[in-house]
């Protein structure tokens, strides 16, 4: 193929005593889509941050178009045509598309903003990418997918030659993903090179030309995508065949006809989500499958008291419980590992310890006083770290410095401490690397083995199939089926059940 537009050679980077990248090489050819794959903490985001000048490298060299460059800050990166499309969008929502595209570099005539010219130019840029939209629309009126495409257009308008796409499809619908892929192909034809970071292997296999896999800060392999398939990528990621096995379903021992730990009867959440009835047996792991917006998250939030139920009854261990807020839910024995761990699960600016003990404070008091025991708190946090294998230098480390998987384990630890009867997990492995994923699944299984109940919501059907004993499917606010795992033969079967009314 063509020559390398960007080359990184022997990159080393460490934070304090922790080495994050070790002698990593990365080469991006002109006009290619190069997937960068690795678990959280594998170093891919650090590598990209070095490329975009957010971090400085400890040693190593960066070449752009064959010339050695020293990228010190984000401005240097921009001048060299490198742009990153962030997961969190960096557009100003209250301004128009055209205003956003030209933000900071407004066109002027006689010293005033030249609105007409900017509108015309924006339209040209967008049309070239195959996006046909009125550039006067405000960004907050656009879907997430469209905003992301505008962001790409903005980068292109600033002559970006190298685009870094970080999990670009994470919040896109299927049709938006198709559109994004069309744009990526268009950009490729225009000679733009792209680094594509994603956890979704199917996308990587379908869109990229080559792939680089990182593990524990080291490059494992770079190869053309033709030479790769899902199994190969996963085995490089995990670094062995052994841990894969935990992803396979093993029939668990529990009494399927045993006592119900939870019984939900005719639950009504709103006009759309109603007539929700299901039971949960002791020791059972129940999955809820459904598309986004089918009502799966709402059920968990209602059981946890974050939403008010409009009708129906909830029985826990045979007793009707009336839950008005999350405090009631916790007291009754519910725990919820929420969907968005950074926003809902954690206080990011606080330490591992503060987060882990937050719901448990009442049980950490000294004697009969109202004072929290420092010793008991530290012990609890240390114990959590050991029990769940949370990787952190100390319990006092700020939690936003941990990898996604370890953050999620802290969220789970915080609820395990409460000794709940029913644990509800909403997308617990989203943005979590495969190693931590395996551990989290193991934690869920162990919890259920104690004779407690688990409700698991996930968009990843393979995950539901590997963990659950029974799966409820939802469509448009209604339960459409309840199927025992052993009666499901393939992912296609479940996919079918989810897609149908």
């Amino acid at each position: 193929m063509s020559k390398a537009i960007l080359e990184m050679k022997g990159i080393n980077k460490s934070f304090g005593s922790v080495s994050v990248l070790e002698n990593v090489d990365f080469s991006l050819k002109e006009g290619e889509v190069h997937a960068l794959v690795g678990g959280n903490g594998a170093g891919k985001s650090t590598l990209m941050k070095i490329m975009t000048g957010v971090y400085s490298l400890d040693s190593g060299e960066v070449f752009i178009n064959g010339g050695k460059k020293n990228i010190q800050n984000t401005k240097d990166a921009k001048e060299n045509g490198i742009a990153m499309i962030f997961q969190e969008l960096s557009l100003v929502p209250t301004m128009s598309i055209a205003e956003n595209i030209f933000l900071g570099e407004e066109l002027t005539r006689n010293g005033f903003r030249d609105v007409a010219a900017m509108k015309k130019k924006s339209k040209e840029i967008l049309n070239e990418l195959g996006i046909f939209i009125n550039p006067e629309l405000k960004v907050n009126q656009l879907s997430v997918g469209m905003s992301q495409m505008i962001e790409i257009a903005k980068a292109i308008s600033k002559n970006a030659k190298i685009l870094i796409l970080d999990e670009p499809t994470a919040s896109l619908s299927d049709s938006e993903t198709v559109q994004l892929f069309r744009i990526i192909k268009q950009l490729k034809e225009n000679g733009v090179s792209m680094v594509y970071i994603s956890h979704r292997m199917n996308e990587i296999l379908s869109i990229s030309d080559s792939v680089t896999i990182l593990r524990d800060g080291k490059k494992v392999i770079t190869d053309k995508i033709e030479n790769m398939d899902l199994d190969k990528i996963i085995s490089h990621l995990v670094g062995g065949e052994t841990s894969q096995r935990k992803f396979e379903w093993v029939e668990r021992e529990y009494d399927a006809d045993g006592d119900l730990i939870l019984k939900v009867d005719n639950l009504k959440i709103n006009e759309k989500i109603q007539n929700i009835s299901f039971g949960l047996t002791k020791g059972e792991i129940l999955g809820i499958a459904g598309l986004m917006g089918s009502g799966r998250t709402e059920i968990l939030e209602t059981l946890f008291g974050i939403r008010r139920k409009l009708g129906g009854t909830v029985e826990l261990m045979g007793k009707v419980v009336n839950i008005k807020n999350s405090e009631d839910a916790i007291k009754s024995g519910f725990a919820l590992i929420p969907e968005d761990r950074r926003r809902q699960g954690l206080v990011l600016g606080h330490s591992v310890k503060s987060n882990a003990i937050l719901p448990y404070l009442r049980k950490l008091l000294v004697g009969r006083t109202h004072l929290i025991s420092e010793k008991a708190s530290n012990e609890l946090a240390k114990n959590d770290i050991k029990k769940l294998n949370i990787k952190t230098d100390s319990i006092h480390k700020k939690i936003n410095l941990l990898s996604g998987g370890n953050q999620q384990k802290v969220v789970i630890a915080k609820w395990l401490n409460m000794n709940p009867k029913v644990m509800m997990l909403d997308e617990p492995t989203a943005g979590v690397d495969i190693g931590a994923k395996t551990e989290i699944i193991e934690i869920i299984r162990n919890f259920a083995d104690e004779g407690k109940g688990v409700i698991l919501v996930s968009s990843e059907l393979t995950e539901l199939l590997s963990v659950c004993d029974r799966i409820i499917t939802m469509f448009d606010g209604k339960i459409t089926a309840s199927i025992l795992r052993k009666n499901i033969n393939s992912e296609e079967e479940l996919q079918n059940a989810v897609q149908r009314n």
Binding site: F15, G16, S17, Y55, S56, F304, I306, N325, S326, E327, A329, I330, L336, P338, R343, Q344, G345, L346, V347, L348, G349, H350, S354, I357, L358, P359, L361, R362, L365, H370, L371, I372, K414
Partner: protein, 325 residues
């Protein structure tokens, strides 16, 4: 071996949260500077230093509650007005009944009610705290002017004046003793109780606190209640010290309290905070005021220099936060 040592010490310094300690460093530097420059003008005399502490007592006490308010991500602009109104109520009740107990009850009730109203406006009516308390500030300050038509009310009860203002115990002014008491209580509540941790969690991430079973509205209301009560008590101390009630007490105190709390290392956006830091922040401002007076600056010049120093101190603590990784 040696390089390992160096990297270790580097790591140690890197891991210190400078903004947390900035106030102590600035304090030491300022104090040393004033001692050298103004030593001959009596800056270092015991009298002068005790005087500074006495003058800052009210701000210091309000800053205890202010730390909770700001750490929980809120803001309370009513404290100065509450102090004035409380001083008016206390002096009027003393004038009419001469009952210290009744006066205290009435003064503190004002603090409770205004805190409760602030809390309800913010939590139940969802008014941003800046606006809610700005409105309430005006209502309360106006009431303090209206109640006696801006006339001052002298307090003749010397027991009250001594206990809450001008007295000494063991050579220490009661104002300083009250300050110490409030700080001990504040530090314990902030660092050692569930409420303290919950306050920080609400300020750090309200959504996550809610998902952890914390009653966010309850925490916010208690924080505003606390702020109201502490401000009312500061008003009682104002009354005792001046042996009168006057509507103009505590004018601008809300800003001094915010400055003291933020100088002390509490983040304006909530989630972190230090009660002791607020005390040092408050005394630091007192020391600066005092030094400017000793240096013979006019009140106009004092106002300017005070502003510059606050800005510089906050800039310094921000700079120290922004080390590149």
């Amino acid at each position: 071996m040696q390089s390992k040592e160096i990297s270790k010490s580097k790591l140690f310094f890197g891991s210190i949260e400078w903004n947390k300690y900035m106030v102590y460093i600035v304090f030491v530097i300022m104090f040393a500077l004033f001692s050298i420059v103004l030593g001959d003008k009596g800056f270092l005399t015991q009298n002068n230093l005790i005087n500074v502490l006495r003058q800052t007592a009210m701000i210091s006490i309000m800053a205890v509650a202010g730390t909770f308010v700001i750490a929980s991500g809120q803001i309370d602009l009513t404290v100065g007005a509450v102090a004035a109104m409380s001083a008016m109520i206390v002096s009027l009740v003393l004038q009419k009944t001469d009952s210290i107990f009744l006066a205290l009850v009435c003064g503190l009730t004002l603090g409770i009610s205004s805190g409760l109203i602030n809390g309800i406006l913010v939590t139940k009516f969802r008014i941003p705290p800046f606006l809610a308390t700005m409105g309430m500030m005006s209502v309360i300050r106006g009431s303090a002017m209206w109640i006696t038509n801006t006339a001052a009310v002298p307090i003749k009860n010397m027991t009250f004046n001594k206990v809450f203002g001008i007295g000494n115990i063991g050579g220490l002014p009661v104002l300083i003793l009250w300050t110490i008491l409030f700080y001990i209580v504040g530090v314990i509540i902030f660092n050692k109780t569930i409420f303290g941790r919950h306050t920080l969690a609400v300020g750090g991430n309200e959504v996550s606190a809610g998902y952890s079973g914390i009653k966010i509205d309850k925490i916010k209301i208690i924080v505003f209640l606390m702020s109201g009560v502490f401000a009312a008590f500061a008003g009682i101390l104002y009354a005792g010290r001046m042996q009168a009630g006057r509507f103009s007490f505590g004018e601008g105190d809300e800003m001094s309290v915010i400055a003291a709390v933020v100088l002390g290392g509490t983040s304006m956006s909530g989630g972190t905070g230090s009660v002791v830091g607020a005390l040092v922040g408050s005394i630091l401002m007192g020391v600066i005021n005092n030094a400017l007076i000793l240096a013979g600056l006019s009140s106009a010049q004092q106002t300017i220099v005070r502003g510059v120093i606050i800005v510089v101190a906050v800039v310094l603590s921000n700079l120290s936060q922004k080390q590149k990784r």
